[in-house]
Symmetry: C2
Subunit: 173 residues, 2 copies
């Protein structure tokens, strides 16, 4: 397997092309990761949720991480990781266009945003249904890509079949 | 769409059946999430990596979150989220059996664990190659499952087509 770094532009291209990612937030140093649908626009990742654990955590700590990937197999994948900052889109007229953009995304993906909504009914919880538009400002983006590869370096780093550090490690000697 | 909670046992069953998940850790309240291969065994998630950002962060803060899912579409998915604690498996004989188990996983997935290794060569970085076996003690596991559904509750919570809070929200009024 051959691993290459993916530059910023190619990483952004992957982010633009995909819609499903994983969003991690943290509170008191406890991380929390969920799948989410998003769309990329001009340096930002746009999405929508209803108020709940994820939104509450991101309000209290805006530092987030978004991870997207295309995994065809253990030796063939591309993975992009974003460090970013959560920003809520206020319910005011000047954010109309941004909300329209997120709304188009919603329509494209049907009812995907309903989990938060549905839970309020099924769980019988008292929390009100408060829809939230948010975006993530991309502070840092890094990407890596694996391909089967067949060069000398790749051969050199294949798993040792016997002997060497690998066997010693397994045997605990 | 109809959302149900998935009980602990069904959540563990999904964890057992899948091999690819996302692992989130955090340092100084900055979350970091990466895809990883794992196997489930008796209350623990087992995996392997080489020393790098992820391992360093989990050593400094063992609180982690693991997320796995089967996503067939926006209305049909199962998602399981684990809050857990990172534990490194020492390189000593009493951990032999555990290492064997992780090693079987490695073999099953070929060279998936090489990224960390390959990066040390391609990036030309000076950091030594230090393989690390670890497990995550499952402190809390929750699961949710969405299915298209067609009951009254599901109909009631479908997206409003016009009017109501949704339109008002979009228009910012």
């Amino acid at each position: 397997v051959q691993i290459e770094e993916v530059g910023r532009q190619a990483s952004i291209e992957l982010l633009s092309r995909l819609r499903l990612g994983r969003l991690a937030c943290a509170r008191d140093n406890q991380p929390y990761v969920t799948p989410f649908y998003y769309c990329y626009n001009d340096g930002y990742i746009l999405s929508f949720s209803t108020v709940g654990q994820k939104i509450e955590w991101m309000r209290s700590n805006p530092r987030v991480c978004v991870q997207v990937d295309e995994i065809k197999g253990p030796q063939q994948w591309t993975c992009v990781i974003v460090f970013g900052r959560y920003e809520e889109l206020p319910h005011s007229p000047e954010w109309h266009q941004m909300r329209e953009m997120v709304h188009s995304l919603l329509e494209q993906y049907g009812n995907w945003w309903e989990p938060g909504f549905a839970q309020t009914i099924i769980g019988g919880a008292a929390r009100p249904l408060v829809p939230v538009f948010f975006r993530i400002f991309i502070e840092q983006v890094t990407g890596h890509k694996a391909s089967p590869g067949n060069d000398a370096a790749a051969a050199k780093i294949s798993a040792p079949k016997s002997g060497g550090w690998w066997q010693r490690l397994r045997k605990g000697s």
